[in-house]
Symmetry: none
Subunit: 198 residues, 4 copies
Amino acid sequence: MRKQPSQARSRATVDAIIQAGARILADRGWAGFTTNGVADVAGVSIGSLYQYFPDKLSLVEAIRRHHFDEVLAVMRGTRKGERSLSQQVEALVQGMIEAHSVNADLHRVLLDEVPGHDGSSRRAHDAFLAEYQDHYKAFVASYGNSDGSSNAEIVAQLLSGAVEGVIHSAARKGILSSPELKQELILMICAYLRRPDF
Amino acid sequence: MRKQPSQARSRATVDAIIQAGARILADRGWAGFTTNGVADVAGVSIGSLYQYFPDKLSLVEAIRRHHFDEVLAVMRGTRKGERSLSQQVEALVQGMIEAHSVNADLHRVLLDEVPGHDGSSRRAHDAFLAEYQDHYKAFVASYGNSDGSSNAEIVAQLLSGAVEGVIHSAARKGILSSPELKQELILMICAYLRRPDF
Amino acid sequence: MRKQPSQARSRATVDAIIQAGARILADRGWAGFTTNGVADVAGVSIGSLYQYFPDKLSLVEAIRRHHFDEVLAVMRGTRKGERSLSQQVEALVQGMIEAHSVNADLHRVLLDEVPGHDGSSRRAHDAFLAEYQDHYKAFVASYGNSDGSSNAEIVAQLLSGAVEGVIHSAARKGILSSPELKQELILMICAYLRRPDF
Amino acid sequence: MRKQPSQARSRATVDAIIQAGARILADRGWAGFTTNGVADVAGVSIGSLYQYFPDKLSLVEAIRRHHFDEVLAVMRGTRKGERSLSQQVEALVQGMIEAHSVNADLHRVLLDEVPGHDGSSRRAHDAFLAEYQDHYKAFVASYGNSDGSSNAEIVAQLLSGAVEGVIHSAARKGILSSPELKQELILMICAYLRRPDF
DNA sequence: GATGAATGAGGATTCATTCAT
DNA sequence: GATGAATGAATCCTCATTCAT
């Protein structure tokens, strides 16, 4: 950011810009994301936008940080310490569904469309992905079986990919809230983690 | 398309344009995809491009159709009629991996970046997704268990989402060819399909 | 330049752009030199301008090359081989006045206002200045006195600065064509070159 | 100026703004001279700047007046009353070099880059140039030869142009302090003023 | 049919200036 | 008096598309 907003008024402006930017990114995608459009929707002048964000990318970075914080907050809020495996899995799946329900369109655009995060922005993005993966690794670890832990990485990768994919495609079809799908996903994960040769 | 290429030369021109477009889309993404750029790489004039494609979207549609045809051809080529469940699953997974290896970058851009398919293009895209899902439905059906068939739809949805997600995230990390991941994915699907309460 | 104009029409366009640019630069200075303004005056669209010049600086470079070529052509046209010193000096002074009469405003703006010529443009500019100085060095050398030639450099520097300055300030006052001033300038140079201790 | 600074604090503010403006003008040229930038460097708010200067041009005028005052002060300080011609000429040249050494970059920018002095600013600028020329006229007059005094004007014009030009070009080449060049310049002027036919 | 010159709406960004606090 | 948030006209540049040759 170019300038720290010190007065209340400017903080409100910055917030309005970020909200409007998130809205436009979610609704129109990266190609439809124009700084003039953001300023318009935010109800501020284009000059005000550039007073706080040196360029388009730094704005999208701010939006990204904002969104990731929310998503991570939801994920961290997932209740822990369940007894049975299926309860643990249900908590995980439920948490991811909720996390994905936080502005799912924005999430997709941020991950898929927004181009080259270079430099400092890369770190923020990687930090998010790292914590994201850690969520799965922690889960796999907590399941605590005694086999070669070298597998944990792969298993976490598999689980995150599968859960992500199922939720993603369900979101696209508008059936994210389907209880049957959720139930089947839970069953699949449980079956996988319980398989005899694990 | 504006015009059907009737002569051999015209067909060669159209092919060159589609190839060049696919190349650019894969290499530079949707944001780097310009009609002038495509014409340049194709070695034809911008006027010729517009002789065959009325606008940018119709060009990207042609590219999409072209690519989806290839992908479906690979998927259809997956060997069928295996005996054991795990052999069938392995065939499925292997087929999907191969399908995703057909110009994976182009695939990702077409699915993630290229914006709103409206009108006729929508149909083509949906037809692809339908056949894609049918592949899974056929697989689930062929596993042929006798329980409530109302579940088949959900199970296909789950499987396609999970497989897609795992392959997608692996592709992003450049580990699409990891045998361990593939093995775990097969294990997960087998475990799921074999679960006692199915 | 971004593109070589191959057809006659495009060559005319490029010429019109360069002429208009030179005009605007001379009339309004670097600060008043806008690409849209140039396109307007040239009677072409802004798009055409950018078809041939990748950016504002490359346009100003083309203008510079064009102008320097003209100036050097005039300087080279100065008749050589005079007998007496004062005839030689008169030829020199006359040549410089004529060279400076070639779009004097443009000359001033190009030398004084146009910012940082980096890279390849630098070379063109330096080449001009070098030939410019060479003109003086050749003159000093041709005067052929036998004293330490290590002075030739300094003398050339002095002469070019003095002649340039006189012509420059005369141009500003609109008295470039004053015969008296020219005569005095010739006298000064002759007196200097004839001084006893030279 | 919009307002006369009456209190000490105000005067300090105005001074800071002028200093900062001169600094920026010298360092970054006219193109890099922005009111917000000046306010920043001066350590005052942009609002304060506009409290004292109604617009950008009035600020640059103040800077110009300030600088010209300094230069004239240096020129006036040149010691007078030397005996021999060459001593007088040396004093003149030395004075001009010193005057040009007072913030040479700022001087160049003010003379070459800053655009159109209209209205009241024109007067200030002309007053400076007049006094500048007067310096030379006084010098020519003091040399007091008895020939047609109608020449004095021309001779002053020639001398100021030549001295200015030599110093200017030397400054550009970074050899303003070269004693040889200075010596040659003095020689040239002496030779000119001593020429038999004067 | 093919060419490529020309077009101009649209989008990112700057900066002089105003005005509420 | 001072502050700095807000403004928006102006500028550079891109790229989809048209059309004369």
